[in-house]
């Protein structure tokens, strides 16, 4: 039984060795280009220099959502199609997605302070990202709580899918909750309207973030495969010592 864990991911590791550096270089180039173009564009008349944080804040939100979707698809892979690398992908994506989520929240807070006077506001979008962050933390906690990777993978997969199904419900209810208190001491954020000259750098930056995500994802998957090999070797070592 432990041997299948050793044999199958071999091709993946070969592929990863090529792809990871390539993606890393691509990410560096695209993010550099995007941020460079973005910083050269004129500052927004309303928000001043801080608007530049948008080039990090918005793409990280997109990546956080994308990573969770990837986790959900991988969870289907684990539960339905039983693909051997599916739970490796799911486990790898969780902390990376959570990190982008956190980056989005922190840059949002830094953006919020000069713009709306507070580091944190309970507006629908930031709050939804916070809930997404909590979902991520829950999945990471499940991975950490169960020792056997197979069982942990199934539990995490179920949790991820339940969370994924709930994302539109949570978004809808959070929007509704926010609209209840319109006009009270709540900040209504419609977000910046994006001027075309700002859109191109944003998209380039976003593409760079996507490349970065994939580089990190592949590297994390490689680490997880190696970690499982170590674990299997340990089990085999104990079993051999017992037999001999």
């Amino acid at each position: 039984m432990p041997f299948y864990e050793l044999a199958n991911p071999h091709r993946f590791l070969q592929l990863a060795r090529v792809l990871i550096p390539a993606l890393a270089v691509l990410a560096l180039a695209l993010i550099g280009l995007g941020l460079g173009l973005g910083f050269r564009a004129p500052p927004d008349y309303q928000q001043g220099e801080m608007v530049r944080v948008m080039y990090i804040h918005v793409p990280s939100a997109w990546i956080a959502l994308f990573a969770y979707t990837l986790m959900a698809v991988a969870s289907l892979g684990t539960l339905v199609w039983r693909h051997p690398l599916a739970d490796v992908a799911a486990k790898a994506a969780a902390p990376i997605g959570a990190a982008f989520c956190l980056l989005c929240l922190v840059t949002g807070a830094l953006w919020g302070r000069p713009m709306w006077g507070a580091y944190w506001v309970w507006d629908p979008r930031l709050t939804s990202v916070l809930v997404l962050f909590l979902l991520y933390l829950g999945v990471i906690a499940v991975w950490g709580a169960i020792d056997d990777p197979g069982r942990a993978g199934k539990a995490a997969a179920i949790l991820t899918l339940v969370g994924f199904i709930n994302v539109p419900i949570v978004k809808f209810s959070v929007d509704w909750w926010s609209s209840l208190h319109q006009g009270a001491s709540v900040f209504r954020l419609d977000g910046p309207t994006i001027h075309p000259s700002l859109l191109t750098p944003l998209l380039i930056s976003a593409a760079g973030f996507a490349a970065l995500f994939f580089a990190l994802q592949l590297a994390a998957m490689r680490n997880e495969i190696l970690r499982r090999r170590l674990r299997t070797l340990g089990i085999l070592a104990a079993a051999t010592a017992e037999a001999g």
Binding site: D147, A241, E242
Partner: protein, 199 residues
């Protein structure tokens, strides 16, 4: 030093497990407690260890100046190994806990023939290997009295022979061995107490 038990009695759930048990053990001597499951072997051992107060009678140590707790090492029928710690870490903990005087962790594991497993998490060990790791505690803590509850359980023939050797050497160093078991332990010249039927 001598271990004296006078009139020991214990009740559990309203039922008397044993009554009026008395024995005296001197250096190099051994006691085997036998009886069916549930007859009170574990209770007797735990009472001698000091984990349980006896309902009647008393235990005393003659010729031992240090605190009584330091005279005994107890190996219960659970292995007391934390799965997420390595075998070496588990044993190092018990060595530190008992004051750090006995054999080193490496030497103890080698003696128990599980030296190669030191870096592995305890969770991947078989039951027999975990039992050896538990017995290794006897080597890292220098205690004159060994209380062993079903020490040979899960052990293969080699393991049982190793256990017999360890007990023989311990008695040779003037140690005392008290073992509860329903197997045949190799303890030459040991006294015997058989529990069951309230005796």
């Amino acid at each position: 030093m001598r271990l004296l038990a006078e009139g020991l009695g214990s009740m559990r759930g309203g039922r008397s497990l044993f009554r009026d048990l008395s024995f005296a053990l001197g250096p190099g001597e051994a006691l085997v407690v036998s009886g069916a499951n549930g007859s009170g072997k574990t209770t007797l051992l735990r009472t001698i260890a000091g984990l349980l107060p006896p309902d009647s009678g008393r235990i005393s140590l003659a010729g031992w100046e240090n605190p009584p707790g330091e005279a005994v090492h107890f190996v219960g029928h659970l292995d007391a190994q934390k799965g997420v710690l390595t075998v070496g870490e588990n044993l190092a903990f018990y060595r530190g806990l008992s004051g750090g005087g006995g054999a080193t962790v490496e030497a103890a594991l080698q003696r128990m023939a599980i030296g190669g497993l030191a870096e592995l998490p305890a969770a991947v060990l078989s039951a027999g290997q975990r039992r050896r790791a538990a017995l290794a505690r006897l080597l890292v803590s220098e205690r004159p009295i060994w209380l062993l509850d079903e020490p040979a359980s899960s052990l293969d023939t080699n393991g049982q022979a190793l256990l017999a050797r360890l007990m023989r050497e311990h008695r040779g160093r003037d140690g005392i061995v008290i073992a509860a078991t329903h197997l045949n332990l190799d303890l030459p010249g040991a006294r015997a107490i058989s529990l069951g039927d309230g005796h």
